[in-house]
């Protein structure tokens, strides 16, 4: 076994002095076994391990060991051993219900790839359009956000969400799970919902709002699932039945292999979506969930998790307490509703995901629980719990090393690994900062 090596040595492995990260090569596959020693391991599922050791090989964590246990290494391996000197190791954060990779510049239509034409396009799959060279990915990564669940948006059935990791040469490299489930924008009653906001924050009332427009629109969603079921029955009996990609796209949800993600915020919206899913024998996840605490019993009884899209938002109504958005996660936790926290808003701000959780923690949510809400709980709710979200043997080595807790602004992320590959933490931002600091160095004549 090699003796102690510093972090700096490891950094030297990467190519130096290159422009923005989008121009940088992606990380090479993990060759050497890596042993992180003397670390404070925030395993999320297995508590805090002080002075612990974490081993990963071929992109997968092979051991999480307490302080005194000797690391078990694969036969014949020459591991890279790093003494972290008490630094923190966290599983990578996951930006749920995001637009990462699909949108580059919010207002530039040409760079916007998340909204397909038509009311129902469940056949569209997010990962297909993710740009591996998006400048947004390295920026999110640099703050410990190492995976994301991009969501198509628009219409009643915008498409299917994917789970991606934020480093890879190709879309295949990025893919953690291509199809994590279809999205439905569950319509609000006339006058409700959230209009004019970007990203999958919750469905608005239909534009052609009459008193019953929301019911008609809900019926159209239901019709899509009914048609898919009829098609599946026919196709199973007669394989020559023509294929409709829309129907095909809903089959895994139909078979309960994946959940349906319902964008819903208002109480009536949430309740009706849950009842609809119950009656159609679908697994449901509520995305948005502003009023979820008001129907906690129903959500608990039906085992429906809630994706809270953004803690940093305004109260939805004038009369609500100023901290209503900040306290929602704590409230859901107390009521026994399974939940996770998504960044909400524009993809370029997804790097601020830890701060949404940090605010929830400041307003009562247990700090470890808050971190789980942006890692393990996201993975569980989106069906990638076998790969991401915690530090445990068998999970992907998608993790980072930091000198403090990522909820703290003073914390620096020092190393990050995506499936065992050490990724560059530089980005367009760091390189532009460096470039222009050089300008002032020149001006000062140094």
């Amino acid at each position: 076994m090699h003796p102690f090596r510093s972090l700096v040595v490891l950094f030297a492995v990467t190519t130096a002095a290159l422009p923005g990260q989008d121009l940088l090569p992606k990380a090479a596959p993990q060759g050497q076994v890596v042993v992180l020693q003397n670390a404070m391991l925030h395993t999320v599922t297995g508590g805090l391990v002080l002075g612990g050791t974490l081993v990963f090989a071929d992109g997968v964590i092979t051991a999480v060991l307490p302080a005194d246990a000797p690391p078990k290494l694969p036969e014949g391996a020459t591991p890279l051993v790093l003494d972290l000197q008490g630094k923190h190791v966290f599983p990578g954060m996951i930006a749920a219900a995001s637009q990462l990779g699909l949108v580059e510049l919010g207002m530039v239509r040409q760079s916007n790839d998340s909204d397909e034409v038509g009311e129902a396009s469940p056949e569209t799959l997010a990962v297909v359009a993710v740009n591996p060279d998006s400048t947004l990915l390295p920026v999110a990564r640099a703050n410990g956000v190492l995976a994301a669940i991009p969501f198509p948006v628009g219409g009643l059935l915008p498409g299917r969400a994917s789970a991606i990791q934020l480093d890879g040469w190709t879309n295949a490299d990025l893919t953690v799970r291509a199809d994590v489930g279809p999205i439905v924008a569950w319509p609000a009653q006339a006058g409700g919902g959230e209009r004019g906001r970007r990203g999958p924050r919750g469905a608005a009332a239909p534009e052609d709002a009459g008193a019953n427009a929301h019911q008609k629109a809900r019926q159209r969603i239901d019709d899509a699932f009914t048609a898919a079921r009829a098609w599946l029955t026919a196709f199973t009996a007669d394989p020559t039945t023509p294929i409709d990609p829309r129907h095909q796209a809903l089959v895994p949800a139909r078979r309960r292999e994946v959940p349906v993600f319902a964008l819903a915020n208002e109480l009536e919206q949430i309740e009706s979506a849950v009842l609809w899913a119950r009656d159609r024998d679908l697994r449901l996840v509520v995305v948005g969930g502003r009023d979820a605490a008001k129907c906690a019993d129903l959500l608990r009884e039906r085992s429906v998790p809630v994706v809270v899209t953004g803690v940093h938002r305004l109260p939805a109504r004038d009369d609500l307490a100023y901290d209503e958005p900040f306290t929602l996660p704590k409230l859901l936790g107390d009521l026994g509703v399974q939940f996770c926290i998504a960044p909400g808003g524009e993809a370029s701000n997804d790097r601020n995901l830890p701060y949404h959780a940090a605010t929830a923690a400041a307003f009562g949510l247990d700090r470890d629980r808050a971190y789980a809400a942006i890692s393990h709980d996201v993975a569980t709710i989106f069906g990638i719990g076998d790969r991401l979200g915690s530090l445990a043997a068998g999970k992907d080595a998608t993790l980072f090393v930091a000198d403090g807790h990522p909820f703290e602004l003073a914390t620096k992320i020092e190393l990050a690994f995506v499936r065992g590959r050490q990724v560059d933490l530089r980005s367009k931002h760091t390189e532009l900062a460096k470039k222009y600091r050089e300008r002032y160095r020149q001006l000062r004549g140094k």
Binding site: V108, L314, D319, E408, A410, H429, L432, Y440
Partner: protein
């Protein structure tokens, strides 16, 4: 005033007019000579009813007294009736054809329609005339609708016009009608734009008149005379007239009164009915309010979801609306009532009774309908009371006015009797037994007839006959009856009173008829009274106690008092040269910080000082948001033109926005309220303290703060992101530069012209034409003079560099570059040419021009010696400016104390108010925030915020407010459910005008609108 104008303003009602086309046949003669006898007469509000005779001749009152009526007068017997002065409707909006915008004479802006006159329009619609008379109105002031200056109003009688005779005019020109209406297709598209247009036009009218005078005195000046303008002539001519503002809410009322005061014009506000929400401010502004007796419908709370969407403020507004008159009168604000804004004028009488039930005295009520509007309209010599010489305008009632049983029988309009409702023979009402005429009936099986007003039921055994077509007049009743009990086909029934019985005829459709007789049944007629009573307000009058300011969940009945307080043992983030002091103490008194320093040096506390244990806590100066669009009514942008330096954010402060309170809960005590970035030269900004809850909105403005103005570079003024259909200059960054350069040159020329005139001796001034005061150039000139700071929206380095050069060339310093996301590329230029840079901490990639934005921007600028602030540009981000500042530590390694200064000291320097706030330094305003932890970290919660020493946010007060919101909502939702019977709005329902107006004033969300960034 010109002679022409003077002629127009006199009251012109004479007697019956002789003008008009020749009559088709012999000229009819109306003697017009009456005596109303045997009446009780109330001659004026507050007067006791007197048994006097009123003699009317030629439309006017010839005598009021006990003398015997003159022999020539036709006596009108008014036994059992009461005669009151005819009511005056002070505001009736009427369509008057818009002026042709293509004619040379018109104002350049179609919202200025000053030369229109009500008499050019359709006056009062037929149905409205009848409805108004039915309520007792005899006189109406008609105002043209549409526009900012809409034209002049005329007072006319509610005559029934005939081809030969038009409605008689009481006063040709009573007032100038104005509003803050915005344009649908250009300038002004915001309320502040409408205000600027109004101010400028009123100034132009004065200037035009001065020019005319100078020209009259010296014809040689003609070469430079202003272009003749009917519009400006009209404005000039109307200067002696009061301005009547048709407003949408109480804040507009205050704004229009400020405009009138500036123009030295008398003003009347035609209100929304919600004026009670800003009663102290309106009283201070000496408002005169024409109050619509329109009470909004109960908010829709039929379902849980619907109730959720209704705010406490809406519920309170609904509940309190009937108290408006009482509250205004108690505050010394004179009111007149109008039927304008009512969906159905029939509700007016009921609403008057509701206002009276809330405490308005009948005398006050009558005055609000007669003498007050008559005085405001300048027609008190003609209308308002019953006195010799005045117009013979009366309301004749059966029963006392303002009581449920009062019936308006007739009105007299300028001596013309108009019957509203003939006396009904109450003798028909009751329960009767049908004795003869019914086929096959015996006294034992006689059908029962019940008559209540127009309601008739006929009961035969267990069956009811079908009754339709009921017509009642003074003495008889007719209806149709059908039913198998009656035999074939329908029958016509006519009945009248015959001593103690009813008599009449029953006629079959074949024309055969038989007599009908019915005798009184012995059933008590109790239900009749109940039916009548159901029309009346059931709920007890709402509580008349003081209301919170602002109305809604988070206002206070009384603003928290200035506290003497000390926070002892805390960590003090001084934001001055002393950095962070552990174990510090802060003492504040009379709204000022008297000590901030090490605990050991704290002076002994005076008695009554609230001592707060600060151990483990952190204390910072109040946070300052250098880029805010919080609390701006009806338009953050005036986007109608590329240059709008004349519009002022201070004109449209919205003190009711709940975001003020939310930001207090995030420690924000002061903001730079900015115009949006839709145009290269936007409006004037305002430095505003977060004094949420003050009675007078303008008290939120920080007096004496340096003036500012918003400019904008790049995509937004280019309208590159698709806002606005028409091609408008500028469309490139080149054009933006050229436009700024052009306007600066114009500003310099303007200054020179104004200074040249000022320098003239008074005698010399009389020999030149006065220069025109131009609000746009005046504000721009202040920039060139260095007395107004430019806060310039900017992103890319090229545009920042351009403006640095332009400012330098013109000898002024930029106040701040706002956003300035590529500032890090040209920090040296910014350091030299601007007071500072005010950026987002880490926003990027939301549009093309911010693709190079980096979070190290603040740090690099700071390193280069630029005074840097971080701002919100968002109601949401504004709640956590402290952690935005923390990002300067994270990205770029700014020292924590310096980072906090990004939201305290530095924005104060940028706004030129660091001598007053922005640091914890003795002598400064007690704008102080108490935090639970290191304020640069997310774990910190704001526990208390003092503004000028007032604890406007504390956790304890917040808990009380939440409890109160729950309690009040519950009470009012229950009340609304009872009142609205669970009403749900149906598709196509016309929204109550009041609620529709509220919808329009919803929060402006600048974050998601590119125009706002």
């Amino acid at each position: 005033m010109t002679f022409r104008a003077a002629l127009l303003f006199v009251a012109v009602v004479a007697s019956l007019p002789a003008q008009g086309p020749p009559h088709n046949g012999p000229q009819p003669v109306d003697a017009g000579w009456f005596a109303l006898v045997n009446a009780r007469v109330v001659t004026a509000p507050g007067a006791a009813p007197e048994a006097v005779t009123i003699v009317v001749r030629d439309g006017r009152i010839a005598a009021v007294g006990t003398d015997a009526p003159p022999a020539g007068a036709t006596a009108i017997d008014c036994t059992g009736l009461v005669v009151w002065p005819g009511f005056v409707e002070p505001f009736y909006a009427s369509d008057v054809p818009a002026l042709d915008p293509n004619t040379t004479d018109q104002h350049w802006n179609t919202m200025v329609q000053a030369q229109r006159h009500a008499l050019d329009g359709a006056l009062v619609a037929t149905a409205d005339r009848e409805a108004l008379r039915a309520l007792g109105f005899t006189t109406v002031a008609v105002a043209p609708s549409g526009g900012v200056l809409k034209g002049t109003a005329a007072v006319v009688l509610l005559d029934e016009p005939t081809p030969e005779r038009k409605p008689r005019v009481v006063r040709h020109t009573a007032y100038a009608a104005a509003s803050l209406q915005t344009s649908r297709d250009g300038y002004p598209d915001s309320e502040m734009g409408a205000i600027a247009l109004l101010r400028q036009t009123l100034l132009d009218g004065r200037w035009y008149e001065r020019c005319q005078r100078a020209l009259a005195a010296d014809a040689t000046l003609r070469a430079k005379a202003p272009q003749p303008s009917a519009a400006l002539q009209a404005v000039a001519d109307q200067q002696s007239l009061p301005l009547w503002f048709d407003v949408q809410d109480e804040l507009q009322a205050l704004r229009t009164l400020r405009i009138a005061a500036e123009a030295e014009r008398a003003a009347v506000v035609v209100g929304s009915g919600m004026e009670f929400r800003r009663i102290d401010a309106l009283a201070a502004a000496k408002a005169r309010v024409v109050l619509p007796l329109h009470f909004p419908d109960a908010p829709d709370v039929a379902t849980e979801n619907a109730a959720e969407r209704v705010s406490l403020r809406q519920l309170q507004s609904w509940e309190q609306a009937p108290t408006a008159s009482k509250r205004l009168l108690d505050a010394g604000i004179p009111i007149a009532w109008t039927t304008a804004r009512l969906r159905d004028r029939k509700d007016f009488a009921k609403n008057v009774r509701e206002a009276i039930a809330c405490g308005v005295s009948p005398t006050q009520a009558l005055a609000a309908l007669t003498t007050v509007p008559a005085e405001w309209l300048g027609i008190a010599d003609h209308c308002g009371t019953i006195a010799t010489g005045k117009l013979a305008n009366f309301v004749v009632t059966h029963g006392e006015l303002f009581t449920p049983k009062c019936e308006v029988r007739e009105v007299w309009v300028g001596g013309v009797r108009q019957v509203v409702q003939a006396a009904k023979d109450r003798g028909l009402d009751g329960s009767w037994s049908w004795l003869t005429g019914f086929p096959g009936t015996t006294p034992a099986t006689a059908p029962a007839i019940a008559i209540t007003g127009d309601k008739v039921t006929v009961q035969v055994g267990d069956a009811k006959l079908e009754v339709s077509g009921v017509v009642r007049d003074a003495t008889s009743l007719a209806c149709r009856l059908a039913g198998k009990e009656l035999g074939d086909g329908p029958f016509w029934l006519r009945v009248w009173r015959n001593d103690a019985a009813l008599a009449g005829t029953l006629t079959a459709t074949d024309g055969s008829s038989r007599p009908f007789r019915a005798s009184a049944a012995t059933v008590a007629d109790g239900p009749k009274d109940q039916a009548k009573a159901s029309d009346e307000p059931k709920n007890p009058a709402p509580d008349l106690g003081p209301l919170p300011t602002p109305l809604g969940g988070y206002g206070d009945v009384a603003l928290p008092a200035v506290q003497s307080f000390a926070i002892v043992g805390c960590t003090l983030w001084t934001s001055d040269g002393r950095g962070v002091l552990r174990d510090g103490a802060l003492v504040a008194r009379d709204g000022k910080i008297v000590f901030a320093g090490p605990r050991g040096e704290m002076p002994s506390l005076r008695e009554g000082t609230l001592e707060i244990n600060g151990r483990g806590k952190h204390v910072t100066p109040g946070l300052i948001d250098c880029h805010s669009h919080t609390g701006i009514s009806r338009g953050v942008n005036e986007g109608g033109q590329a240059v709008t330096a004349e519009v002022r954010i201070e004109d449209v402060l919205d003190p009711d926005d709940v975001n003020w309170y939310r930001q207090l809960a995030g420690g924000v005590t002061l903001v730079n309220q900015l115009h949006g970035s839709a145009n290269a030269i936007g409006g004037q900004s305002r430095t505003t303290k977060n004094r949420f809850g003050v009675a007078v909105p303008d008290a939120m403005h920080l007096d004496g703060a340096p003036a500012g103005m918003k400019w904008a570079l790049g995509e937004n003024p280019r309208r590159a992101n698709g806002s606005g259909p028409n091609p408008r200059y500028p469309n490139t960054r080149m054009g933006v530069e050229a436009l700024l350069r052009d306007r600066l040159a114009a500003a310099i020329a303007y200054r020179r012209e104004q200074a040249g005139y000022e320098a003239l001796a008074p005698a010399a001034r009389a020999r030149v034409l006065p220069p025109r005061r131009d609000l746009e150039l005046e504000a721009l000139a202040e920039i060139v003079a260095g007395t107004r700071r430019v806060h310039c929206h900017s992103y890319r380095q090229d545009e920042i560099f351009m403006l640095c050069g332009l400012a330098k060339e013109h000898g002024f310093k930029i106040g701040t570059f706002q956003h300035v996301l590529e500032g890090y590329k040209v920090a040296d230029a910014i350091a030299q040419n601007a007071v500072g840079a005010s950026a987002f901490s880490d926003w990027w990639a939301f549009k093309l021009e911010v693709q190079d934005a980096i979070p190290e921007n603040g740090a690099i600028l700071h390193e280069a010696g630029v005074v840097v602030s971080f701002n919100s540009d968002s109601n949401e981000h504004a709640r956590r400016l402290n952690t935005e500042a923390g990002k300067a530590v994270k990205y770029g390694g700014v020292a924590p104390h310096e980072a906090l200064c990004f939201v305290t000291r530095n924005p104060a320097i940028q706004l030129g108010i660091f001598d007053r706030t922005g640091s914890l330094t003795a002598g400064k305003d007690a704008d102080v925030v108490l935090w639970s932890a290191d304020p640069l970290e997310y774990e910190a919660r704001c526990e208390a915020t003092w503004v000028d020493g007032r604890p406007l946010f504390t956790l304890a007060r917040d808990a009380e407010k939440r409890a109160n919101v729950r309690r009040e909502r519950q009470r009012l939702v229950q009340k609304a459910l009872a009142a609205g019977k669970g009403r749900t709005a149906k598709e196509g329902d016309k929204k109550d005008a009041y609620w529709a107006a509220e919808d329009m004033t919803q929060d402006y969300c600048c974050r998601d609108c590119e125009g706002g960034r």
